[in-house]
């Protein structure tokens, strides 16, 4: 994954950047499978590697495949991102150790979901039970976000097309 990331940063040809992005998504999906998060891995593989690659290729067709040469030296952005990386790494030092059973996230509501979920909902997949039932309101919000994204794309692109037709008639 590090190789893919460095290659994306160095590459000038946007077509290979998009393909490398797809490769990165598939690697990320395998990492998620290794972490036993199969639901998330499926989403990453289908959305990250599948549909967004197709959409980015479509965007490439519209705006050409070569990245423009940068106008100025990258030292300031580089310094900003290094500072942010340092802050994030410093922040992870305060997190509980990986797979620590006594971490706050494992002693709050998770045991209740794991123990009571299958009994209350009769559904073996706890992820589905939590998403659709315990957190049903959040998921309704997420679906509304997806709906809003679709409506926004329709509103933006369709209006552009209509104006073009109108201009050509004039």
């Amino acid at each position: 994954m590090a190789v893919a990331t460095v290659a994306i940063a160095l590459q000038r040809n946007l077509f290979s950047v998009v393909i490398l992005g797809g490769v990165y998504s598939f690697l990320m999906a395998t990492v998620l499978v290794a972490l036993d998060a199969v639901d998330v891995a499926m989403t990453e593989a289908s959305v990250g590697a599948g549909i967004s690659t197709v959409l980015l290729l479509g965007a490439l067709y519209l705006c050409g495949g070569e990245e423009a040469k940068p106008l100025h030296r990258p030292w300031l952005p580089l310094a900003v991102s290094l500072i942010i990386v340092g802050a994030l790494v410093y922040g992870t030092l305060g997190l509980p150790a990986f797979s620590d059973a006594l971490a706050p996230i494992h002693v709050h509501v998770a045991p209740r979901y794991l123990l009571q979920g299958p009994i209350e909902t009769g559904i073996p997949n706890v992820v589905t039970a939590v998403l659709a039932s315990y957190r049903g309101f959040d998921t309704l919000g997420e679906v509304t976000v997806v709906f809003t994204a679709g409506a926004g794309v329709i509103a933006l692109l369709r209006r552009a097309r209509r104006r073009k037709d109108w201009e050509s008639e004039k």
Partner: protein, 143 residues
């Protein structure tokens, strides 16, 4: 890309299985990994694949624009409708226990319809975005 024999045959072989897999992920989400979101994306990917191989007009004939736009709104309405059904039957919003005499069966029913709503909206939105982008591409080529 309709003229490439290998692509056409492979697409014809794969697309039915992709759609069946989407349905499997949708309705088997209670027991295995998956759910509405993943199923919606996979179903949309199958149609996008079809559009890539056989051209956008063919895909638009198969899944017309009106249907896609209806799906975008229908899924959200279905999800919210399940919540309202909970109120009508005497519970809280998105309360599945009252959807059936047996609370566990009620949970099953609620989650089933909610996931169906998620799947419908997600596949509708993905397809709509793709149609919009691809439609612009064809228009740019004409100029």
């Amino acid at each position: 890309m309709k003229d490439f024999l290998v692509l056409r045959i492979v697409a014809k072989l794969l697309i039915p299985y992709m759609l069946v897999f989407a349905l499997y992920v949708q309705f088997h989400g209670d027991f295995g990994p998956g759910g509405g979101f993943q199923a919606g994306v996979i179903a949309a990917a199958a149609v996008i694949f079809y559009a890539l191989i056989f051209g956008l007009p063919a895909a638009r004939r198969m899944v017309p624009d009106g249907l896609v736009e209806a799906m975008v709104g229908l899924g959200v309405l279905l999800y919210a409708g399940v919540g309202v059904a909970g109120i009508v039957l005497g519970g809280n919003f998105l309360d599945y226990f009252v959807l059936d005499a047996d609370p566990v069966a009620g949970q099953h029913r609620g989650i089933f319809w909610v996931e169906a709503g998620v799947g419908i909206t997600v596949s509708g939105v993905m397809l709509k975005i793709f149609y919009m982008f691809a439609g612009r591409r064809r228009r740019a080529r004409e100029r």
